[in-house]
Amino acid sequence: MHATLLDPRNRLVVLLTRLLLLGGFLLLWWLLTSRGWISPFFFGDPVGVARKLIGWFVTGSIYPHLYTTLIETILAFLIGTVLGLGCGLWLALSPFLAVVTDPFIKALNSMPRLIFAPIFALWFGLGIWSKVALGVTLVFFVVFFNVFQGVREVSPAVLANTRMLGASSRQLMRHVYLPSAMSWVFSSLHNAVGIAFVGSVVGEYLGSEKGVGYLILLAEGVFDIDSVIAGILLLTVFALVLDTTVSLFEDHFMRWQPSAGQTVSGHA
């Protein structure tokens, strides 16, 4: 009885339970704040947040901000991925260079790179490019290390076999190294999406004139906690949308893999 009722494979039951959990949380939040048990000044209230969100979209005031943040994130994500892929392949295929650059790359990676934000603001100004640069430094390393590993993990038998079939070094790159690295790249891209958002929002937070991060900063300045929460919700939804897009591409490009879609999407 128990087992059949709470079967994890029963999608309807799972979905209903999830909705129940979400609804319960919202109800609790609303009860606590509306009864004055916790202060809505510090914790906001769900009705206020909803009103803010609807207001943003009805008046259209959110669009320029949302557009800016999304553009920054997507640019950072794309540029970081391409650079990471290129450098990863290049270094993995030239062992000498890999050994030489190893300590520098380790140092750059362990550096708290968000600290570059003020420098980038000086270099690239307060527009989108300082945020893109910050996002790129974050995304690059995630992708880079995965590609590097991916190339190292190419099966020696597949490599030798493809060489025996007459592949030139360019063909090896296209038919063996790239596809083999792609499975690693895709598992890193889920992380990269989240990190790209971190880059643009933190960048906006530290100095900008547009963007959801800027909006949150403004609201915080006037203790408008409802707007802060609404902004965070908005960012979460769009991070999920981008992550789903990556999954769609992954399902298409990784259909040769025996167990597609097993990657866990952990965010930074």
Partner: protein, 284 residues
């Protein structure tokens, strides 16, 4: 009729028959993983020739450097000393372009369908995509994979993957086929099927085959000649036997014949000593 057991060193037959492959004093030493500065000699002073159109099997205890010999033949590794000649030409650098290699483990590109895997080699050789795919489809049919061309390697069974691998190698129409225990991972029925399949494909144009295995029955039932390797390290061929069984053969049936059993007993006598030596050095 008696099987001719000859010492390989004594055998210096006149070079009248065209030789597909010829090992002259081939020695391969590798840097040892365990102790620095030490080297491990896998094969030592190997003299061996493979005639054009001959099906040669190499048997020996496990880990005796049989695969090393194949890798030398493929040009994947260079011998430390000695030379390898391919159809009379010494192989100085690069891969052996006349040879195709069937590996022990699955070596299909997992991100390509069976069809694309077979076509890949042809595309590398400069064929157009359409032409390559058409040839690949023919080969799928020939190895009994009709209707499985659009599947990825993980969707195929072990035997089907071997068939695809065989088609991939043969589609290039190589003059030499190198096979490294290709069927060792298959169950016994599938294995017999694949062996028959291999003989059927081989009999159509008689390529030179070097077939490495540790399974003596497999070696005898497939080959024209069986070479026994000594236990490692510093392996070398120590005996060879002509297999005068009639062709075409049916591997499951030929194993029941009197002549097969005779040959098996003779070769096993030599091989057994090496297997025991090998166990004495590396207890199982």
């Amino acid at each position: 009729m008696t099987a001719a057991l000859r010492s390989v060193e004594a055998e210096r037959r006149p070079q009248n028959a065209l030789e597909a492959l010829r090992f002259d004093g081939v020695t391969c030493a590798f840097a040892s993983n365990e102790r620095r500065g030490r080297t491990y000699t896998a094969v030592s002073e190997v003299n061996l020739s493979v005639r054009d159109g001959e099906f040669l099997s190499v048997v020996g205890p496990t880990g005796c450097g049989k695969s090393t010999l194949l890798n030398v033949a493929a040009g994947l590794i260079r011998p430390s000393s000695g030379t390898l000649s391919v159809f009379g030409q010494p192989l100085k650098q690069g891969l052996n372009k006349d040879a195709a290699y069937l590996f022990q483990v699955d070596a299909l590109m997992p991100w390509k369908t069976a069809e694309d895997n077979i076509a890949a080699g042809l595309i590398f050789h400069g064929k157009s995509k359409a032409e390559a795919i058409a040839t690949a489809r023919e080969w799928l049919l020939r190895v009994g994979l009709h209707g499985h061309g659009r599947k990825y390697p993980h969707q195929l069974s072990g035997g089907m993957r071997k068939r695809a691998g065989l088609a991939q190698a043969l589609a290039l129409d190589p003059r030499i086929l190198l096979m490294d225990e290709p069927f060792s991972a298959l169950d016994i029925q599938t294995r017999h099927l694949m062996e028959d399949e291999l003989l059927r494909l081989w009999s159509t144009d008689r390529k030179s085959v070097v077939f490495v295995t540790h399974d003596l029955e497999e070696a005898i039932s497939l080959s024209d000649r069986v070479v026994v390797m000594s236990a490692g390290p510093a392996t070398k061929p120590i005996a060879e036997f002509d297999i005068d069984l009639q062709r075409p053969r049916e591997v499951a049936e030929i194993r029941m014949t009197q002549r097969f059993l005779q040959l098996h007993a003779q070769i096993w006598q030599v091989l057994r000593r090496e297997v025991l030596k090998s166990y004495a050095r590396n207890p199982a």
